[in-house]
């Protein structure tokens, strides 16, 4: 299977573009942008629409809609005078269940819901009715957990990607959200609608500028600031960008287009398209840690500890024994790097040169393999993410260099080993370009039959001190 995300969209949550676009020129332009997004999604050949909606808050983890054909008539709690929204959706219940299971595998609390009359939220209804009016593309909807932090939201996306890749789907990710979300607190004439304040408008335009440059991860890392600046507290935080960025491998070089940006009773409503094609722009300005498994405070009811034990991947139980790296003349060892699988140090210094032992993606402490192992306990090949593995290798290299007093910009030469050159070279090369490639070391890439642990990539590095 070789599923992937073929596009991403940000869409507003209020019902005006659906119910009364003719009442305001801006609402009409938003409707036209929805229509353009609808056509682009169809042309992309997508076979799955994934909605992350800020108007579906949840408390007990995340909830995923799993009723194959939910039907109801929705009326907005505020804008009930604009009309009713009758809906009947085509939900991919099988995908929903698989996503729920993938969440659990990554340590997340989540559950599916499949109840007649379940109140599908206004953001999801507006998005699905306008982006997928004929229900030709199966959809899945996930809630926005009110207590979820960035790591939980990121892992939610990675679990979703696990299923997309494992099932070979061509998916489109949609966040139903406002930009600034401060509405006028009084009733206004539709013709008088505008963004609530100049400050909200300026922030919205800055966020849109970033997204138009494809800098999704930068926006995700600014989410807390954006929330403080232009969001009404406690309504919904700006967390959908965490999810959307993780769905896009935390990239900053997407191809972005703002299809429309208008006011919706004072709130900022935008239809934004983010294409996975690299724009070649968008250097990262921020550098938050990535996370693969959620280990947050979940056992409140049991009172038995602060974290869930995440079962280590199969590689740790069936792979080669781990060694304490030996000390010796010039040896450099780091607690922040994975333990070696033999009696050798992480690196050795000779003069002003540092020779690193082969570095793989295994995580220090847990021995987990970001992107997943390449085979199961029985040796059967399984799906894995070469880009996630390659990023983890680079991060391990950085930790060892830091321990030695060196840094990434002092790397002189790299020899890379791939176990499947045909499958993995492109992904590995993409991550290289985003990371090590910036520093300009020489490089040699070799195909080999196997590595000692179930990993797909390893690098041998020589750097200056």
């Amino acid at each position: 299977m070789n599923g992937s995300l073929v596009g991403s969209y940000v869409v507003p949550v209020h019902p005006h573009p659906l119910l009364v676009p003719e009442q305001n020129e801006g609402w009409s332009r938003l409707r036209a942008a929805f229509d353009e997004a609808r056509d682009a999604i169809k042309e992309s050949g997508a076979d799955l629409l994934i909605i992350y909606s800020t108007t579906w808050p949840s408390i007990i983890g995340h909830q995923i809609q799993a009723d194959p054909n939910p039907q109801w008539t929705l009326v907005d709690q505020d804008f009930h005078d604009l009309g009713s929204m009758e809906y009947s959706f085509n939900i991919d219940a099988e995908f929903a269940e698989a996503w729920n299971e993938a969440n659990h595998n990554r340590g997340l609390q989540s559950r599916t819901v499949a109840y007649h009359g379940f109140p599908i939220d206004v953001g999801s209804v507006v998005a699905l009715k306008l982006l997928n009016p004929d229900n030709s593309i199966p959809a899945v909807i996930v809630s926005s957990n009110v207590y979820a932090n960035r790591s939980e939201t990121t892992v939610l996306a990675k679990a979703c990607l696990d299923v997309i890749k494992g099932t070979g789907r061509k998916a489109v990710a949609v966040t139903a959200m406002s930009m600034s979300n401060r509405m006028f607190t009084e009733f206004i004439d539709p013709s008088e609608d505008r963004i609530h304040s100049l400050k909200d408008d300026e922030w919205n335009r800055k966020v849109l500028e970033f997204l138009e440059e494809g800098r999704l991860e930068d926006v995700a890392q600014l989410s807390r600031t954006i929330h403080q600046q232009i969001r009404v507290q406690k309504v919904v935080t700006f967390k959908p960008m965490w999810w959307l960025s993780a769905m896009n491998d935390n990239r900053n070089n997407l191809t972005g287009r703002v299809l429309a940006y208008e006011a919706l009773h004072g709130a900022g409503g935008a239809v934004i398209q983010l294409n996975p094609t690299s724009s070649g722009k968008g250097d990262k300005e921020y550098d938050e840690d990535d996370v693969e498994y959620y280990k947050g405070e979940r056992n409140v009811l049991d009172g038995g500890g602060d974290s869930i034990e995440i079962e280590a991947p199969s590689s740790s139980s069936t792979g080669p024994a781990l060694w304490e790296p030996p000390e010796g003349k010039g040896a450099v060892n780091s607690d922040a790097a994975p333990k070696p699988v033999g009696m050798y140090p992480h690196a050795r210094q000779v003069g002003d040169l540092l020779y690193l032992s082969g570095v793989g993606p295994r995580q220090p402490g847990t021995n987990a393999i970001p992107g997943g192992p390449i085979r199961d306990d029985e040796g059967n090949p399984i799906e894995y993410d070469i880009k996630a593995q390659t990023r983890a290798v680079v991060e391990n290299i950085a930790r060892i260099l830091e321990e030695a007093g060196s840094s990434m910009d002092k790397i002189v030469d790299v020899t890379s080993f791939l176990v499947d050159m045909d499958r993995d070279f492109a992904g590995y090369n993409e991550v290289w370009a985003e990371t090590l490639g910036h520093y300009g070391p020489t490089r040699t890439t070799l195909a080999i039959r196997a590595l000692p642990t179930p990993i797909a990539v390893e690098m041998k590095v020589i750097a200056k001190i």
Partner: protein, 300 residues
């Protein structure tokens, strides 16, 4: 026409767990009970209200959240299925209720005259929120008295607790005036809990009471402090400390219901009756009655 009056004011929280635990015929999921301390509290409240002649229940629900003004249900009859979006495993309830549109409109009009942004909700497809239904059921499971249902304006989060209180004090005042002018006897219901920090996990058996407790000691202290003010007739101190309480206890008083209730009762200085206190997935819930019919005749 005789002057109307408020005959009782109640803090009547709405966790759907309480309906689930009762296994009423209107609710589809079934349970083995649970949360008895609170359900016994509601029994005592029902018993108390059964002895007080009243025509209408006037309720403010924090789960009908409106950002643009305060809204009122404006159609005489609502029925349908309510599924809790957060706890759909517990609450799938077939409701059937009548609305006192005349009184709703009277409060609406007075609120409008006093400068509040208000709107009548007249879309027949509208689904009544589960907070209204849960409190309505726990207070009057037969739903044989009409309701006035008022939305929760989210001014706390748009502005501050102080602004919310100013608006809710005014809404409470005009609610009281409208009731008095209507000639009706009304019970006021604020459908909110106290401290409101949830657990983020649920027991495999949701009604497993061995797992139920307050989310933290700080939440317990705040709940007891507020309840003590209620029991000793110090409603003004509740209003004075509302900003700190709402912030530090993440209290559901953010929805304005408690302030509105105390305002309708003219900020009572007589003791309230605590019918019950308990926790639900970590949140603090108190069932409290201000028996204003027995104090000063009514709330003046």
């Amino acid at each position: 026409m005789a002057k109307g009056s408020i005959v009782a004011g109640c803090l009547a929280p709405h966790p759907p767990h309480l309906v689930y635990a009762e296994n009423p015929p209107q609710n589809e999921p079934t349970s083995e009970g649970g949360w008895e301390q609170l359900r016994w509290g509601y029994e005592r409240l029902r018993e108390s209200l059964s002895k007080i002649d009243h025509d209408v229940l006037v309720l403010l629900s924090p789960h009908w959240q409106t950002y643009v003004g305060t809204h009122f249900l404006g159609i005489p009859h609502f029925e349908g299925l309510s599924v809790d979006p957060v706890f759909p495993n517990l609450f799938r309830y077939s409701y059937d209720m009548n609305i006192d549109v005349e009184l709703s409109k009277a409060i609406h009009d007075k609120a409008k005259d006093s400068g509040l942004a208000v709107k009548m909700m007249e879309n027949p497809d509208f689904r009544v929120d589960y907070g209204t239904i849960t409190t309505g059921h726990m207070v009057n499971p037969a739903f044989d008295k009409p309701l006035v249902v008022i939305s929760s304006n989210r001014s706390t989060h748009y502005y501050s607790v102080e602004v919310m209180q100013e608006m809710m004090m005014e809404l409470g005042r005009v609610t009281r005036e409208a009731i008095e002018e209507s000639g009706k006897k009304a019970v006021i219901l604020a459908s909110n809990s106290l401290s409101h920090r949830h657990f983020t996990t649920e027991s495999e058996v949701p009604e497993d009471m061995s797992k139920e407790h307050i989310a933290s000691h700080a939440m317990h202290l705040w709940d007891m402090r507020i309840i003590d003010y209620m029991r000793t007739g110090q409603a003004q101190r509740i209003l004075d400390e509302m900003p700190e309480f709402t912030e530090q206890a993440i209290a559901e008083s953010d929805g304005g219901g408690l302030t509105w209730l105390l305002s309708t009762l003219s900020v009572p200085d007589y003791p309230a009756i605590l019918h019950g206190y308990g926790t639900i997935i970590g949140t603090g819930n108190a069932i409290v009655e201000w028996p204003c019919h027995a104090n000063k005749g009514d709330a003046q």
